[in-house]
């Protein structure tokens, strides 16, 4: 301490920070970028040239086959071949496109399928709107209630009492969601608050606020129920379902089921109770060590054996069950990976402030783990979406099944490549969009906790 002089008797040095300078001029601009990334050295330049040459070869071949020599208008494959034997026959794709999308769903009823897609998009869209409250409820209703509406639109026919109720609930929920969204966007107040203030309960105690909402819901339900009674759609059996539509049905149910089931299985695997743990481990390991195609075959041939006499389980239902179980097992491992990445201190802090097991998991652990898992979860979804094409092997006419069927049509016999290229493009668009969205989500959610 002695070598530091107390500066009382002399002038204090005033410390002035240097002003910040702009960074050195960047090597930006197109030329700079090219020079830095493509032509920085002799070998790099060589690789660039070779790379561009390969790209050119592939692109020109594709262009030659797919555009220059392609046939866009023809009624049979023969006509195509007569016009241009070495070009693509896109005419076949145009003729069959509806079949690739809807399978053998009757032409006149295809609007039902398209309409449910539009409804789903409209149901989910508000989740991305600003200023809209209760987004979790909207998203959950879209996942839990929408399937009943879609299911009825797809199947049609008479509704039993359960479907009658669920379809009414679904229509009501959709209408209420949008009423809520519009209210939020226009007045800035949600549906619940609006009902409460209109009914004059706003001044009363918080606990009574649910009564006008329940009453409103009940009245709405009765109205919808009355309106749709007597309205039916033509019944269309699942054996007519096919194409991209079927792929989306199977993978959509698989995806919606996989995440919650995977979370339950992953938690079960870490449970302190041995029985639960063993059951979960056995289930996960069993399904993960068997190829999906085997699970699918087992489902279609063995489920019927377990079912009581007379109960017919159709092929589609078996396939959906198989895909769900399979994806749940994989998802469980993804979730487990995410859970392992969470610091032990988070569990301890949650326990120390008095949270029990379920609140701890739901509020502290899962939100963090899910955020970490987004890339892997979306990866599994993409995998599932693609794997669904395997159902064509057990005789379901998904998009690949339809393509195979078309290639056996007498008029179009041998038409393989063009439909397959189309299917590849459709799958690419779906998968690429999912993966891009997951990147975006990752970035957006990661903003909060930069360390």
């Amino acid at each position: 301490m002695t070598d530091i002089q107390a500066p009382s008797d002399r002038e204090l040095l005033i410390f002035k920070p240097k002003p910040s300078q702009p960074p050195p001029p960047a090597t930006t601009g197109l030329i700079g970028w090219l020079r830095m990334n493509l032509f920085s050295s002799v070998s790099n330049t060589l690789l660039t040239v070779i790379g561009f040459y390969l790209i050119y070869l592939v692109a020109s071949a594709v262009n030659h086959w797919g555009i220059e020599l392609a046939v866009w208008n023809a009624d049979t494959r023969r006509e195509c071949l007569d016009q241009s034997p070495y070009g693509a026959c896109w005419a076949g794709v145009f003729v069959w496109f509806n079949r690739f999308i809807y399978g053998r769903y009757p032409d006149l009823e295809q609007w039902r399928v398209s309409l449910t897609w539009v409804i789903f998009a409209a149901w989910m869209a508000p989740v991305w709107f600003p200023r809209v409250t209760s987004k979790v409820a909207i998203g959950l209703s879209a996942i839990l209630i929408y399937p009943f509406l879609a299911g009825y639109f797809y199947l049609g026919g008479e509704r039993n009492w359960f479907m009658e109720i669920m379809v009414s609930v679904a229509i009501l929920s959709f209408v209420l969601c949008w009423a809520h969204v519009l209210l939020c966007l226009i007045t800035g107040r949600g549906l619940g608050t609006t009902i409460i203030s209109l009914s004059g309960y706003a001044g009363k105690h918080d606990k009574t606020h649910k009564y006008p909402i329940i009453a409103f819901g009940a009245v709405g339900f009765v109205i919808v129920y009355a309106l749709i009674s007597g309205w039916t759609l033509k019944e269309i059996g699942t054996n007519n379902w096919g194409g991209l539509f079927l792929t989306l049905v199977i993978s959509g149910i698989g995806i919606a089921f996989a995440l919650p089931a995977g979370i339950v299985l992953a938690l079960g695997r870490r449970s302190k109770m041995p029985v639960i743990r063993v059951v979960c481990v056995a289930f996960i390991e069993l399904l993960r060590s068997v190829p999906l195609i085997t699970v699918l075959f087992m489902a279609t041939t063995m489920f019927p054996l377990f079912l009581p006499e007379g109960l017919v389980f159709n092929k589609l239902a078996s396939a959906i069950v198989a895909v769900c179980l399979f994806s749940a097992a994989y998802m469980a491992e993804t979730v487990r990976g995410g859970l392992q990445a969470i610091n032990k201190g988070q569990y301890e802090a949650a326990a120390a402030i008095g949270l029990g097991y379920w609140p701890m998991m739901a509020l502290i652990i899962m939100p963090q783990a899910l955020k970490l898992m987004i890339p892997n979860i979306v990866g599994s979804f993409i995998g599932l979406f693609k794997d669904t094409t395997l159902v064509s092997i057990i005789g379901l006419y998904d998009m690949l099944g339809m393509i195979k069927a078309v290639s056996q049509n007498p008029q179009w016999i041998g038409l393989h490549h063009e439909p397959l290229v189309t299917a590849a493009m459709i799958f690419f668009i779906g998968c690429f969009a999912m993966s891009k969205y997951s990147r975006h989500l990752e970035k957006k959610l990661g903003q909060g906790d930069r360390r």
Binding site: Q346, E348, A351, I353, G354, G448
Partner: protein, 262 residues
């Protein structure tokens, strides 16, 4: 640095009552074969401030973590506020609601804002209405002197600020006892005093505190009793004055000479 600074200040007198809030009767704990806590006997009175020190690995953390059941002891009794710690989940919950804990690594919830960190437990454990919980959390954040950070995420704060949020988060449950496990050990030197200041303020308000720390200035200023642990045992306990000026055992003397040497 903080040692010199605080040596000059008065010891904060406490209003000790003779009501025992934590009682440990020959508590023993093993990690596998390893005997970490050996026959610990300890009674802590309401409003008492205890500083626990000792070499690394001596079982200090394990001891205080047994008090809110983050670790399970195998033999002996731990009685907190008249509730005996056992396997009964109800008892554990009752104890945890009364005992707050601050960790060396802060352990804030990174996906929640500072305010949400502080309102989570009151809302979910005590079923407090959100508005009330937020109001209380804001007054606690004022008490730890960071109300302006309420809407930030923990990752955007400095270590000292994070630790103060952690203290506010524990206080939000209105605990009667606070446990601190080396609250300043993970902090950069210039941030230690801001956290210690908050803890001194807490001591002034009459909180029962168990603090594992090597900040001897804090011990001298605040503690009613200093406990020295080694090899899983309580080697010596005394008032800070006696403890620092007349250590009874050679282990204590050696330890004090090591940490006060520089």
């Amino acid at each position: 640095m903080s040692v010199e600074e605080q040596e000059t200040t008065e010891h904060i007198s406490s209003a000790l009552s003779d009501e025992v809030v934590i009682e440990l009767n020959s508590v023993n704990k093993w990690f596998g074969e390893f005997h970490v806590l050996k026959d610990i006997d300890l009674s802590i009175y309401k409003g008492e401030r205890i500083v626990i020190c000792g070499p690394s690995g001596s079982g200090k953390s394990t001891l205080i973590r047994c008090i809110n059941r983050l670790e399970e002891h195998q033999r002996g009794d731990i009685i907190v506020n008249g509730v005996t710690m056992g396997n009964d989940v109800k008892n554990i919950d009752a104890i945890r609601r009364n005992v707050g804990m601050v960790f060396q690594q802060f352990n804030l919830f990174p996906h929640l804002t500072v305010l949400e960190n502080c309102t989570l437990a009151p809302i979910w454990v005590r079923s407090m209405p959100k508005a009330e919980a937020e109001e209380r959390a804001m007054s606690l954040l004022e008490r730890v002197k960071i109300p302006e950070q309420a809407d930030k995420y923990p990752g955007q704060l400095s270590g000292g600020q994070q630790q103060r949020v952690a203290i506010a988060r524990s206080l939000a449950m209105d605990p009667q006892i606070m446990l601190f496990d080396e609250p300043t050990s993970a902090l950069d030197p210039e941030m230690i005093s801001e956290v210690l200041d908050v803890m001194v303020g807490l001591a002034e308000s009459g909180m029962t505190m168990l603090v594992v720390t090597h900040e001897m200035g804090f011990a001298k200023r605040v503690a009613d009793r200093v406990i020295f642990m080694d090899f899983g045992e309580i080697v010596e306990q005394n008032t800070p004055e006696e403890f620092f000026n007349n250590p009874k055992s050679d282990r204590t003397q050696l330890f004090l000479s090591q940490i006060l040497a520089h």
